[in-house]
């Protein structure tokens, strides 16, 4: 049996309590067709949402302006956010809405998307010249959902490619009410500060991605003075933003791969170029040295008019020639040594590290030729990690 009868009011109150304490009912988004709408003088809106299977009366306190600004009329498809309530006095159940938003169906959206693409194809926007991304972005801005998986993926990938890489994140709503406005606001802000912008989000339903098909958002990308990378959804999603951005990335991770270089690769490249410069210089100097030495030998050995070889060897002319060449080489060599010390900081593999050594006389002057050396002369030889003194044997 049902037990003792209780008062109606008490019963309805109990029912209300049970309903509003049910989290699933208390916090919901419901979708349906607007079949009745009263914008009361008080500013409150009373309306009914209906679909094939059910119907519910709704109220949105102070909601008139929300209906008017979005031009919502009877017959529109609506999403209402809010929760269930029961008006105890009449026992009527109603949905207490906090927000309403009209829903376009995907057919209408798709039509708008096609029209937009067609318009931009005709006026040349699609073929406009694109900005190219800097080789190394120093002011990268990422505009995407705060706390999203897409952001986490991008951050992880950047850290892998270039630890300590600096960039700025602007977290925004990427879907639903307010998303287009936030995307545009963030783009405008970043446009004045960044040297490269990645805007995007992870995968989702076509409706979820729709902000990136909107003319207002895409126009903001077009108007942006710095290069913009569009990185929306999965590989197969093609959005209008992909068509008009400066760089199209298939996914957010792909955007990072395209614009953030791998630091170790850059360093290796720089070191390699440095090595090649070093090696080429070594080569050239060895050749020039050999050429000059052989010229002196040939000159000394050449039978010259009126002067015997022995005479020439001992003549002042020979020593003048020798010292002039030596002096010349010395200046160049010293200059080279100075430059080489500049290069030390840039090129990790130095000349001495490769097995070359430098020979100096007791005055500390570089010895570049065997000319002028005698048995018993002391020479110091500079190696990678220190100096040794040697004696000329023969």
């Amino acid at each position: 049996m049902a037990g003792e009868p209780i008062e109606v009011g008490q019963y309805v109150s109990l029912a209300r309590k049970a309903l509003v304490n049910e989290p699933y009912l208390a916090n919901a988004a419901i979708i349906g067709e607007l079949t009745k709408l009263t914008l009361a003088r008080s500013g409150h809106s009373y309306f009914t949402l209906t679909d094939e299977k059910g119907s519910i009366d709704c109220v949105l306190f102070g909601g008139n302006s929300m209906f008017e600004s979005q031009n919502i009329q009877v017959g529109s498809k609506l999403v209402a956010l809010g929760g269930i309530d029961v008006y105890v006095k009449t026992g009527r159940m109603q949905f207490k809405a906090s927000r309403v938003q009209p829903v376009q169906n995907i057919g209408e959206l798709e039509k708008a998307r096609r029209e937009l693409i067609e318009k931009w194809r005709k006026d040349g926007t699609l073929d406009r010249p694109r900005l190219s991304a800097p080789h190394i972005p120093k002011n990268l801005y990422i505009i995407t959902g705060g706390g999203s998986a897409a952001l986490a993926d991008m951050q992880r990938l950047i850290a892998d490619r270039w630890p300590d890489f600096s960039y700025t994140i602007i977290p925004v709503l990427v879907q639903g009410m307010g998303a287009p406005e936030q995307l545009i606001q963030a783009l405008k802000y970043a446009g004045n500060r960044a040297d490269l912008i990645i805007i995007g989000r992870g995968g989702g339903s076509p409706e979820d991605l729709w902000s990136f098909n909107l003319e207002s958002v895409c126009q903001a990308i077009i108007d942006c003075p710095v290069p913009v990378v569009s990185a929306v959804g999965h590989e197969s999603d093609l959005l209008v933003s992909d068509l008009i951005a400066d760089v199209r990335a298939s996914t957010p991770s792909n955007a990072v791969e395209r614009v953030v270089p791998i630091k170790s690769e850059l360093l290796a490249l720089i070191a390699q170029v440095g090595d090649r410069v070093d090696f080429a210089i070594d080569n050239l100097f060895t050749k020039k040295n050999e050429k000059i030495s052989s010229m002196i030998i040939r000159l000394s050995a050449a039978p010259m008019k009126g002067i015997s070889n022995a005479k020439l060897r001992n003549s002042r002319l020979s020593s003048r020639l020798n010292s002039a060449v030596e002096r010349n080489m010395l200046t160049k060599k010293n200059r080279l040594l100075t430059i080489d010390s500049i290069l030390k900081s840039t090129n990790p593999e130095r000349v001495l590290d490769r097995g070359y050594s430098m020979t100096m006389d007791t005055d500390g002057k570089p010895v570049t030729s065997i000319a002028g050396l005698k048995e018993g002369d002391l020479l110091s030889v500079v190696l990678r990690d220190g100096k040794v003194t040697t004696e000329v044997k023969k």
Binding site: S166, P171, Y189, I270, V273, I281, I339
Partner: protein, 61 residues
């Protein structure tokens, strides 16, 4: 000069040095330019480093 331009110029310098045929002064000039470009490139790398900043939309109006 951007990083890309510097790397391109370095390639030219290395190619010229490797080919030889430049006189001593020219060689030293190229070497000096190359060394400076290498330093520039490395500096460019450090300029891309720093911190990760997260802005709040409310604060950027």
């Amino acid at each position: 000069m951007t990083y890309a331009e510097a790397m391109k110029r370095l390639e030219e310098i290395v190619a010229a040095l490797e080919a030889g045929g430049t006189d001593l002064d020219e060689t030293l000039k190229l070497f000096e330019e190359g060394s400076n470009l290498l330093k520039e490139c490395q500096k460019e790398l450090t300029e891309a480093e720093g911190k990760i900043e997260t802005l709040r939309l409310e604060d950027i109006e």
